[in-house]
Symmetry: C2
Subunit: 215 residues, 2 copies
């Protein structure tokens, strides 16, 4: 019983390389390719692969949203392995949140790739289900930070970050090389936008929304 794989990457060379690596294995079969997220979703619907190798960075619909769409629309969705360049890429957490079964670094050895495909095809992420969920929940909070960040101007966000480091208005003014009155204005704006009564409540909101993170 061979594992059917769909390769989604915007770079043709990468797709070919992945196909070569996986195709050399007798039990793995690359059944199709996609050059962007939308294509990945439609191809997956047609080809019904067991595993999708999904690049995160793709023009148009990126790998994350493609994964999300894939898992939401198909009734028997494939396992998705998200492929990324950097280990601490924030995409990784997004991927896990939307339901990817795993991720792989581009600098991984060929055998790691093969191993990963077999692994998710046969067992999904049997390990660390709670771990993944905890991570997902934790980084879901960062989403909300977006909403928070969107409401604050760039300067206000800077001021909030400095507030969250325990600086008082004078210190923030010095750090930003502006007058103390200016900082007061920004702080007032931050408090108003966050619905906070004082700077302490603002800092708490910053932590609770994942705008700043402990550690």
């Amino acid at each position: 019983m061979t594992v059917r794989v769909l390769v989604a990457d915007d770079e043709r060379l990468v797709r070919t390389a992945l196909r070569a690596i996986l195709g050399a294995e007798p039990d793995l079969d690359v059944v199709g390719e996609a050059a962007n997220g939308d294509e990945a979703v439609t191809r997956a619907g047609e080809l019904r692969p067991d595993v999708v190798l999904m690049d995160v960075r793709m023009p148009g619909t990126d790998g994350i949203r493609a994964t999300e769409a894939l898992l939401a629309t198909m009734d028997e969705p494939p396992r998705v392995i998200v492929v990324t360049t950097f280990e601490n890429d924030s995409y990784v957490y997004e991927a896990l949140r939307v339901g990817a079964s795993g991720f792989l670094l581009k600098r991984s050895a060929a055998e790691d790739l093969v191993r990963a495909v077999r692994l998710v095809a046969h067992s999904d992420s049997l390990l660390f289900p709670a771990a993944v969920r905890a991570l997902a929940a934790r980084h879901a909070r960062r989403e909300r930070a977006g909403a928070l960040r969107a409401r604050l101007t760039e300067r206000e966000a800077q001021v909030l970050r400095l507030m969250a480091q325990g600086l008082n208005n004078a210190e923030i003014a010095a750090r930003l090389s502006v007058g103390a009155q200016t900082v007061k204005s920004h702080v007032a704006a931050v408090l108003a936008k966050l619905g906070a009564r004082d700077r302490t409540q603002a800092v708490i909101a910053a932590y609770e929304h994942g705008f700043v993170t402990p550690g």
Copy 2:
């Protein structure tokens, strides 16, 4: 190439059951058993298994500390799968922190167990390495909360928690049914002990030390 497994559990019946399940697989071989953490460490040194199934709750040295000792002392340590009863068991995070390759619920199906053993034997936790590390770092912070809590009196800790909820002194006083002056005293004590200049810095310290947690 068979996978050599060591089963560590304080209950004899459980050990036997695990041995029966794993022994039925041609590629898996239970080479030994241990009834507690210390025994697990010594047996692992003698038998050099590929995988250790480690129960968390054991008399004497528990599964966590045994895992820690195991990974620290052996030059080619086995993969450790921690076995626990509850999914949200805090032991799980401890296990990942000290370097376990995975965990398994006791209510899992037999095939899940077999799968998990093969999985970690052949690939360790190829998936989610960053996820595991993030989790470990995050829960390591909870340790430090102990040091902080030790320095504060019970009442002071209460006050700090309320401060971290954005309450001002009057509100804290009302919540604790004491006078406002009393709260001021406690707050002053908290600030002094934490080396904080104002309540905002105190709340930040509470977050950074894991004394309170976002979410």
